[in-house]
């Protein structure tokens, strides 16, 4: 099967496509798209999260925040930004790491951010990671 044959078949497919577009009314495909991949553990960032996103992934894993605040659930604070924030899919499988014991105090994110050499807003990081792991 050569190039001419391939192009001819593409041209035919293009004609069919245009005809279909003329006779059928297109409906939104976004819900189906998001549903398909959310079910597979690929969870998109919202527009609000995305606006902050470049600042949320600047962690260089120096570990200084661990001195100011220790853990969220079973997770050391630096790992939130350097590990959990990175994951594209399957982050929901690690939700058990972040579950706080009842009565446990929230880490002092403000103190942790104050010592961060790249100014990471750790409270915002924690909020995004929590939402992504919770689904």
């Amino acid at each position: 099967m050569g190039r001419a044959d391939s192009l001819a078949k593409l041209a035919w497919a293009y004609g069919l496509h245009q005809a279909r577009r003329r006779v059928s009314r297109p409906k939104s495909q976004l819900p189906a798209l998001l549903d398909t991949y959310t079910r597979e553990g690929i969870r998109p960032l919202t527009a609000a999260e995305y606006a902050e996103h470049p600042r949320l992934v600047t962690c260089i894993n120096c570990g200084l925040c661990a001195f100011a605040a220790t853990r969220m659930g079973k997770t050391r604070l630096p790992d939130l930004a350097s590990s959990y924030m990175r994951l594209y899919a399957r982050v929901g499988d690690a939700a058990s790491d972040l579950a706080a014991e009842s009565g446990a105090a929230e880490p002092d994110f403000a103190a942790a951010s104050a010592v961060c050499p790249v100014g990471l807003p750790l409270a915002d990081v924690a909020a995004v990671v929590r939402r992504l792991t919770a689904g």
Partner: protein, 537 residues
């Protein structure tokens, strides 16, 4: 020269994904195989790829059979290496003045949808500009719409190792850091190889057939037998970010109209690639600032915030593209060719040239078929359906294994992505659940296992095998710890551990320097502090 030559049915030179695939295929057919690589498994072209098993929609313009074959083989790989693959969903935005308008793009995707079930992928979707921005808020404001397309991402380093490991399990002998110095010939026939091992000792191996699977180095090996392999090597680079950037993988067009991709993986984003004729030293390929700017410029048009993100390194490699005159690099076919050099009067030597990661299994099958024909050996290929190591059974839920073994569930997720259903066996082997590399995260057990069972001989090998120092800290927090652990397992002295860390840091710097900027320098200062005392430079 030391011991008597070892004897094998086949010697495969080149431990990229194709060579490893050939070694696995032939050993599963019952032949005795020796596999040699001058560096580490997958350290050349394979590791510098886009980490994609894709079906090849670009071939729709040229040859639908190639798309079908490529998609079918991607499906086989997805089936036999489930733990190594990630679903990658592309969002292809259409901008004003793009080569293809939205109707043409959707037509191509409608055709591609016919092949998608072969690789267990979903059909495309079409989005209005508003929907595309809701799905991917970082897209440029002037897009006219978008279509989606699904492919598979893969960890190429683990894919190569899984093939090597399975070849060994089927009786093959596999030696990395072992350079072939000469093809042994008898009256024009290639009858074996001379090689120098990691310890510097020279050895000989006799083989009834020698397979040259050395990618861009194919011409060098063929030259040892006095024959030519005509390639047109093409350099490609990628920028690597140690985190997700976008919700979907995104395609873009470069200033010269080439297709660029930003691919989201488990914990990384790869942005690439360039495609330039390469005439230099294949063992010393540098990334140029111009190449980085070329990629960023292309992506900025569809994803304006791209320069706000901090890359952690670059990768570079050379494609073994088959030779063709009067074509731009990007127009060159990714087809491959199995060359039996008997037609040039050299018996016993077969070269596999060209190709791409996505079709490695098929390339290995066809090369193995050619070898078996030469040997009169009749055994069918079974690599399309036999699972690679770690895929023999279902993986345990991450939280359950984490609770039982006392490590974070995230560490289990990453462990399973490398070892699949063998994850617990790996944890048991090392007997230490301490996290060595927090970015990945990587347990001491896994690193111990890699040193003891996965032919790790340097920290760069450990980087490839288990991802040590691959994350945002670029090794600042873990290289010295890793050197201690690997050194302990391999019996390194204190000075050898020091040298191993220094070698790794120096090697990594070459890939990092071209993308240092703003926050990158903060990270670099931290790394320099951590490595103070190594006297680098």
């Amino acid at each position: 020269m030391s011991a008597a030559p070892s004897a094998h049915d086949v010697c495969v030179i080149g431990g990229g994904v194709t060579g490893a695939g050939i070694a696995r295929d032939l050993s599963m057919r019952g032949l005795s195989v020796l596999l040699l690589d001058k560096g580490d498994w997958g350290a050349g072209t394979t590791g510098a790829s886009s980490w994609m098993i894709h079906g090849g929609p670009r071939y729709l313009e040229f040859d639908w059979d190639t798309t079908r074959l490529s998609t079918q083989d991607a499906g086989y790989i997805v089936s036999i290496a489930r733990n190594l693959v990630y679903r990658v969903v592309f969002l292809i935005p259409v901008l004003p003045h793009d080569r293809n308008n939205i109707e043409r793009m959707e037509t191509a995707m409608e055709v591609y949808d016919r092949f998608q079930p072969l690789k267990k992928a979903h059909p495309h979707r079409r989005l209005t500009p508003e929907e595309a921005h809701r799905a991917e808020p970082g897209l440029a404001p002037d897009i006219l719409g978008a279509v989606t397309m699904e492919e598979w991402g893969i960890d190429p380093h683990r894919l190569v190792w899984a093939n090597v490991e399975d070849a060994i399990a089927h009786g093959a002998r596999a030696l990395n850091h072992t350079r072939v110095t000469e093809l042994i010939r008898d009256a024009g026939k290639v009858i074996g190889v001379r090689y120098r091992g990691a310890d510097g000792a020279s050895s000989e191996a006799r083989a009834r057939v020698v397979v040259n699977a050395t990618g861009p180095w194919s011409a060098d090996i063929a030259g040892m037998a006095g024959v030519k392999v005509h390639l047109r090597p093409a350099k490609g680079i990628h920028i690597v970010y140690p985190h997700r950037i976008s919700n979907f993988a995104i395609s873009a067009e470069s200033i010269d109209g080439r297709d660029l991709l930003m691919v989201s993986h488990a914990g990384f984003t790869l942005l690439g690639t360039t495609d330039d004729d390469f005439y230099g030293d294949l063992d010393a390929v540098d990334v140029l600032q111009d190449e980085v700017d070329y990629l960023l410029q292309g992506f900025e048009r569809v994803f304006p915030d791209i320069r706000r993100y901090r890359p952690v390194r670059t990768t570079t490699g050379v494609r073994p593209t088959l030779f063709k005159w009067r074509k731009y690099e990007d127009e060159l076919s990714r087809r491959y060719e199995v060359i039996d050099h008997a037609r040039e009067g050299v018996e016993g030597l077969v070269t596999i040239a060209g190709g791409k990661l996505s079709m490695y299994r098929l390339m290995a099958e066809e090369t193995s078929d050619a070898v078996c024909r030469k040997l009169g050996h009749q055994a069918p290929c079974t690599t399309a359906t036999t699972p690679l190591p770690g895929n023999e059974s279902e993986m345990e839920p991450a939280a359950e294994l984490a609770a039982r073994c006392g490590i974070p569930a995230l560490a289990v997720v990453k462990l399973q992505s490398r070892h699949g259903s063998r994850a617990e066996k790996v944890l048991d082997a090392g007997k230490s659940t301490r996290i060595v590399c927090r970015c990945e995260p990587l347990t001491e057990s896994e690193l111990v296992y890699a040193a003891g069972h996965e032919q790790v001989r340097s920290l760069a090998d450990a980087f490839r095998r288990v991802g040590v120092a691959a994350g945002p800290c670029a090794g600042a927090a873990c290289v010295l710890r890793a050197a201690e652990i690997v050194g302990r397992e391999l019996g390194w002295s204190a000075s050898q551990r020091f040298e191993a860390a220094r070698d790794f840091v120096q090697g990594a710097w070459l890939g990092r320097a071209p993308v240092l900027d703003h926050a990158g320098w903060a990270q670099e200062e931290l790394a320099q502090g951590a490595f103070r005392g190594l006297r680098i430079g």
